[in-house]
């Protein structure tokens, strides 16, 4: 049995998206990180970082954390020929894009969202927001160029590479971010987020 720890107010949504894509049975424990449920001894035994999400898989006798790593684990173990391509060249690109999402996109994008959305208005800094945006604009350009003339990042099908990048970039929609300078990206993002699995996760009750 697969157990996801974390609610829909957290990065667990990206793991739920994978589980729904693959149609895997799972249970969800909505550890609420806003009320400190993530710092109880029980949860720290599952993830010593005290962060959600985490995943338990009794089949593999595995417990792991780090949202992108959980997605790679699920894709490799349960998604062969679906989210995980069968050719080594495609698999390598899936690894590449997962780390690209983590190192070249997520930090800067989350930085902007915190600055413009989560911080109390009085503490927001337009200067800091601008700096974060300048850091991720090259990444938006990079992925837009890569998507010219193609539907998906790797091969001819939606893969874990698309999912990992889309979940990060889609978070900019919280800010009604304007993607018109990046038409390939905008088209691809819409295709990713219209998938039934993502629609299902997006319609789950928040929390």
């Amino acid at each position: 049995m697969i157990t996801v720890y974390g609610g829909t107010n957290s990065r667990a949504t990206r793991n739920l998206w994978v589980l729904e894509e693959l149609g895997l049975p799972y249970e969800q424990k909505k550890i609420n990180f806003t009320t400190g449920e993530n710092k109880t001894p029980e949860f720290l035994a599952i993830n010593p970082s005290g962060k959600v999400p985490a995943l338990g898989d009794s089949d593999g006798n595995v417990t792991l954390s780090e949202s992108f790593a959980i997605n790679l684990y699920l894709a490799q173990r349960y998604g062969a020929g679906k989210l995980w391509p069968s050719d080594p060249a495609g698999q390598a690109k899936c690894l590449q894009w997962s780390f690209w999402a983590a190192t070249e996109a997520e930090g800067h994008i989350v930085g902007l969202i915190v600055e413009k959305f989560f911080k109390p208005e009085a503490m927001r800094s337009a200067e800091a927001a601008k700096q974060f945006e300048e850091l991720f604009i090259p990444s938006l350009k990079r992925i837009d160029a890569d998507l010219a003339g193609k539907d998906w990042l790797v091969g001819n099908n939606f893969s874990i590479a698309d999912l990992q990048c889309a979940c990060v970039i889609n978070s900019l929609n919280m800010l009604r971010y304007d993607f018109t300078p990046y038409p390939n990206l905008a088209r691809w993002l819409k295709a990713c987020t219209s998938r039934p699995a993502q629609q299902k996760v997006a319609s789950m009750p928040r929390g």
Binding site: A69, D87, P88, A89, L95, Q96, F99, A102, D146
Partner: protein
């Protein structure tokens, strides 16, 4: 054959270390930062982002240093860098992403300040803030190293290698590991491995040639 593109001074060093650990035959295609070789069309064809490192191995073409190490370990390091069991493999993925998402922003933030600025120009407040942010992060690694010498247990794996390459930025930026003796000892063992020694030798040579 595995071709690693980049400078030994860049994150390509991570991939050289991994290839050395696996005993994988490889060729290093050196790119000179100062000549902007990573922005030339020949290299942009391999990595349009114009960042180092990238690799080419048969029909595999990829970038992102830590992803490349996952590829190298999975292809050349089965049973060694890449554990044979599900549990170990999952831990390697988790800790590699932990290195990328949790440790690297702090570690690289510090290194950048130290590497590219003269001592008197460094933003000491930023360095101190990043050191504060780094403490609980190092503490998490340390909690895992209480019960075993390496992240997955008794054996050095990709998890250790990838976390150690990023931890190197903390050490090079003078973050003091001594409050975490297990982590300090672990880091010493990792950095003294033959594969990393080789990288350090290559770096020393490159610096000599550049001087």
């Amino acid at each position: 054959m595995l071709k690693i593109y980049g400078s030994v001074m860049s994150r390509a060093s991570r991939n050289i270390w991994a290839a050395e650990e696996c005993g994988a035959p490889y060729e290093l295609v050196s790119l000179d930062f100062r000549k902007g070789e990573h922005k030339q069309p020949a290299y942009l064809a391999i990595n349009p982002a114009g960042k180092m490192p990238s690799i080419v191995d048969g029909d595999v073409v990829m970038a992102e240093s830590l992803a490349i190490n996952m590829f190298i370990a999975q292809k050349y390091g089965k049973g060694g860098l890449w554990p044979a069991d599900d549990k170990g493999q999952a831990k390697c993925m988790q800790w590699t992403l932990w290195a990328a998402a949790e440790l690297e922003p702090v570690a690289y933030g510090r290194l950048r300040e130290v590497l590219f600025k003269k001592e008197e120009e460094r933003d000491q407040k930023l360095l101190a803030d990043l050191a504060e942010r780094g403490k609980p992060i190092v503490g998490i690694l340390d909690s895992v190293l209480q019960s075993a010498p390496f992240i997955c247990g008794s054996q050095f794996t990709l998890a250790d290698l990838n976390v150690a390459c990023v931890m190197e930025y903390m050490v090079r930026s003078n973050f003091d590991l001594s409050p975490w003796p297990k982590t300090a000892a672990w880091y010493k063992v990792c950095s003294e491995r033959a594969g990393n020694k080789k990288v350090q030798d290559m770096r020393a040579q490159a610096m000599k040639a550049a001087a």
